[in-house]
Symmetry: C2
Subunit: 240 residues, 2 copies
Amino acid sequence: MSNPTAAMLVIGDEILSGRTLDSNTNHLAKELTSHGIDLREVRVVSDDAPSIVAAARALSETFEHVFTSGGIGPTHDDITADCIAEAFGASIDVREDARALLAAHYQRQESELNEARLRMARIPEGATLIDNPVSIAPGFKLGNVHVMAGVPSVFKAMVATVMPTLTGGAPLLSQSLRIDRGEGDIADPLGQLAKDYPELSIGSYPFQKDGKYGSNIVVRGQDNAQIEEAIARLAAEMAV
Amino acid sequence: MSNPTAAMLVIGDEILSGRTLDSNTNHLAKELTSHGIDLREVRVVSDDAPSIVAAARALSETFEHVFTSGGIGPTHDDITADCIAEAFGASIDVREDARALLAAHYQRQESELNEARLRMARIPEGATLIDNPVSIAPGFKLGNVHVMAGVPSVFKAMVATVMPTLTGGAPLLSQSLRIDRGEGDIADPLGQLAKDYPELSIGSYPFQKDGKYGSNIVVRGQDNAQIEEAIARLAAEMAV
């Protein structure tokens, strides 16, 4: 029984130039993992319409859920909504429900709902709005693509809105064991363990600390008893 | 005159599960930017051979340089070298020069060059080794794909080895200006600026701090005088 699959599409030159370290992917990854949805692929593309459209289409066709981050603000470089509409062949225009949300918000703030801000009410035909309790301008879901903001606090709020609407599988459980030996010394028993427990995923993540080699072994699966059995066997074999 | 293009392929379940925050992409992005090479796309895929092969092929065909991170250690989940060989239709086996590097290293360490460690000397036919001063097991370059380690200290050392071998374009320069107003208030002059300076890339990165909205405007390009002119005009218009 396999879990639903998902992909993340990060949109933004600032990630690709190295100016900004993307933290949204890591947040989404943790949320999906605990929800029993397998994040299978992440792509980061620049603020370039053909790249965004092509990536959105490819991921939407391959995975059950797609989540995007970035490019839905009021400035000229915010082109994500138009690109997602194009990817699905949907029309896009200012939508009344989104406009009303923004109008009320800017009235409370005593700011003007000018033309630039009105761009944030452009929603593709057939999309469902995603609530944004932080800065009001909504995200949206079109087809299987959830379009969310790039600002981390807003992204997190939107993920919190979306997560309860998704049907998860069995949560992926994991336990880890630190072994203070080089990977080369533990590779054989580890490979054997992976063969003996084909339903578990066994990963080895090496590190160097104070000039010494070690590895964190992470055993993942959906059956906690099986995970504990595998960890116990490894600990015994490694005399940890 | 456009700069050489590049893509990054991150391989590892630990990134997709959220257990590990990928920092290699950000390091490579900064290095490439200062070297005048445009990082255009990043993909993260799991430790799954068909996914790695397909992504390596797609990126290798689309971009001038590809850099991979992860999956070249001695354990059963380290399958990157075999996948890259498959992507290029190359054979792969233990290669004498790589074996000699490892043999000398483990002799110095008084450890055994066992079968697991010998896997790290498996190098595709026709590849060039990438020096690893940190933990010796080499990376390699096959076609336009640079295959490097996932451990950040080793990845950085390999990037430092590779970077001087690449012909860069004009370094991408940037200046930024912080404006303590919401994006909606500055979107119009910003869009006009972008139209008036088509050779510059003008990005707006909003933030919220202490309940107030602001945005960092980043102007990027290859002509510093032009960047300064654009920043000065924006500062004057915004009365920063």
